[in-house]
Symmetry: C2
Subunit: 460 residues, 2 copies
Amino acid sequence: MTDVSLGFLADRLPSDRLSLDPTDRAEYDADWGRSGGDPDVVVWPESTDEVAAVLAACDERGVPVTPYAAGSGIEGAALATTGGVTLDTTRMDGVGPVRPDDLQMDVAPGAVGGDVEAAAADRGLVCPPFPQSAAFSTIGGMVATGASGTQTVKYGEVGDWVLGLEAVLADGTVIETGSRARKSSSGYDLTALLVGSEGTLAVVTRVTLALAPEPRARRAGRATFETLDDATAAVARVVREGVDVATLELVDPLTARMASAHADADVPPDPSVYVEIHDGTEAGADAEATRCESVLSAAGGAVSFADDPAEMERIWAARRQAVDAIKTWDPDRTPLTVGDVTVPIGSFPEMVRSVRSIGAEYGFDVPAFGHAGDGNVHYAVLVDPDDPDEVARGKEASDRIVERALALEGTSTGEHGVGLGKQSYMSDEHGAAVGAMRAVKDALDPNGTLNPETALPPAQ
Amino acid sequence: MTDVSLGFLADRLPSDRLSLDPTDRAEYDADWGRSGGDPDVVVWPESTDEVAAVLAACDERGVPVTPYAAGSGIEGAALATTGGVTLDTTRMDGVGPVRPDDLQMDVAPGAVGGDVEAAAADRGLVCPPFPQSAAFSTIGGMVATGASGTQTVKYGEVGDWVLGLEAVLADGTVIETGSRARKSSSGYDLTALLVGSEGTLAVVTRVTLALAPEPRARRAGRATFETLDDATAAVARVVREGVDVATLELVDPLTARMASAHADADVPPDPSVYVEIHDGTEAGADAEATRCESVLSAAGGAVSFADDPAEMERIWAARRQAVDAIKTWDPDRTPLTVGDVTVPIGSFPEMVRSVRSIGAEYGFDVPAFGHAGDGNVHYAVLVDPDDPDEVARGKEASDRIVERALALEGTSTGEHGVGLGKQSYMSDEHGAAVGAMRAVKDALDPNGTLNPETALPPAQ
């Protein structure tokens, strides 16, 4: 624990920008999935200059600084576990200007995804790769996490839509990365290096996001299957055939039951694949939907496509509530983790089987769902938090699932990030490359000021 | 110049892996655009272990190592200007295995793009973002350069298709970056950091490339315009409207004349836009081509679309030969540079106007062409290499063009890389971020062993 006196920060910021109040600080003890944050001070900078002033002063004094925004992360990447300063970016929430002719816009890190979507929509534009949490999660958080979403199967990850960043290094130096051009081979790709670095290398203060015109035609459909194996094999087939899907999601029977109970809806309890098509023309959307339907049917699916918006919305509603449904399913049990391992698409069926069988082996009902088209499996191990034995078995089952994903040459986290929750897998996943990551961290943040206990395993 | 004795390398490699012969060494003095390489030794390692052995031995002794492959770069990024070792990767040219169900394949760095395309095609797969040089340029070179190509407007850059790398750091440590999953938020994105780093951070020894099924339907078309301004405005309009083009290329009248002369073809001398559509269905391709045609027509274009392969090939042939045509246009003049500035798409018309007007101001006929849909402008300043005054004026004109691109918030190099040719613009383009790049370089290559005089401006 660092002993922080308020003095040096109070000299550098207006008085409404910081607080030592225990009530204020307590709001930063947890995110959606983890807890353990214990900042000595919270600051709410309102400009890049203020961020730079905080960082320069803290870096000089060896005071850790941990950026925080919506707190909607799952792996604890924004928790000030070593005390020091929590730097809340949510007052830096400017959106725009939109540059429609360049298909891009600038966004401040604390802006929530929903506000960005609204500003873009005013010009007929979209930023497609946002996660489902975009209604409340922030752009800065998405960039820090290396987030992605349901439409990543067609449009890529959030990071693929970041043209450039303004960011403040640990010592207070303000840098700009990238450019406003759609491509560049000029210099090291610091933009990509900062995306997914979880505030451990710099604090992002401006994001230049690429945008695209709204898709002109959409179709949504659902296919139900007799067995989960049939459903996952169908997913792999759709990808292998190159069907141009905008989303390709799996919902297993347990997740469906949970969603039905939560939403008081009638979600079919069969293994299901949800799919959406985006196209530039109505004729193209019809043709691609027909093609998709034939691949899903050939794989044993009972397929129905909708084309009016209300019907589309009903089809999607159940899937969208999966995480909430899991959290409220059993009043005595909480998700130990909402995991998101990701594997090569050919191994997706095997990965889903493994999640089920490892769950069964440990005596847990483990729902499996997620962005199937990316090879991404979300799963939740529900445990009674007051039963230490159950918690221990739950952790062991979670470890086994991640180990299986790594054995299938996948990753321990497709989109939720490392934070505190996935740190222990980093050496297994990356081997000697962890040393290179550590060298980069030490080069850009030699005093270990920025978010020092997340993402990478501790230095040797 | 480093004094290199062969002894320490000869102890570590079979004898056919290295040469001190001046004739061998002289083959590494230039690439397609620059000269000045002067290695003391050339090595041709045949395995990752051999690369690691060379690097470890050289790093210990302060001997520079510069990777080289096809030599088809344009900016001199592979030239051993400080002597030492040129490490030729072309004997490491393994292709595959293709993993069709995972839509990916492993490739050794010295494999040429054409061989990769052939192996993928055997399984009905493609890697769409390759540059036009792919028939002879290598995967390692593409990765090192941060290359892209005619289809980048739809499919992204080569780097976007790199799932992971095996690479050897300066001290001989072998690392693996990324994973075989299509997305990950696990750890720093070292893959993206190494892509475009021009062999200054590591020597890539294996590339895991993503693949896609071949597009099932294609259309190619051309639109001619009365003025170059009309043509560039049409390009910006097609992008702004979100027409799903797979390629969107500009050929200006001068480039058209050069191409006609070179190929003895009948390329129309009007400002022209070349376009290709890829789609999953024939109906979709027809609908999208119709949409594209209507946008181009509304912008003043005389449009013709072809749908048989032979006709498509004729439409594309002229564009494909543009670089060769420029080189052979005037026997007394050579291109001082084949530039590739890239700007936000809304500024593309202004950038093309600037290239023409700056050329006119300095008395040069400057052809302008390129991957217009990305906001990318290729241009060539043709000078008499024996006329120092003309060379000096050509350099000044080139500088002015790059400065204009930076003023338009673009980049000095969209796809050719930095090398020796663009180094002088790096500080203007990246400002304080150059310091962060230098810190990363020093962290991963503390002795400055790897390709020490390229990419970044000299350390202060």
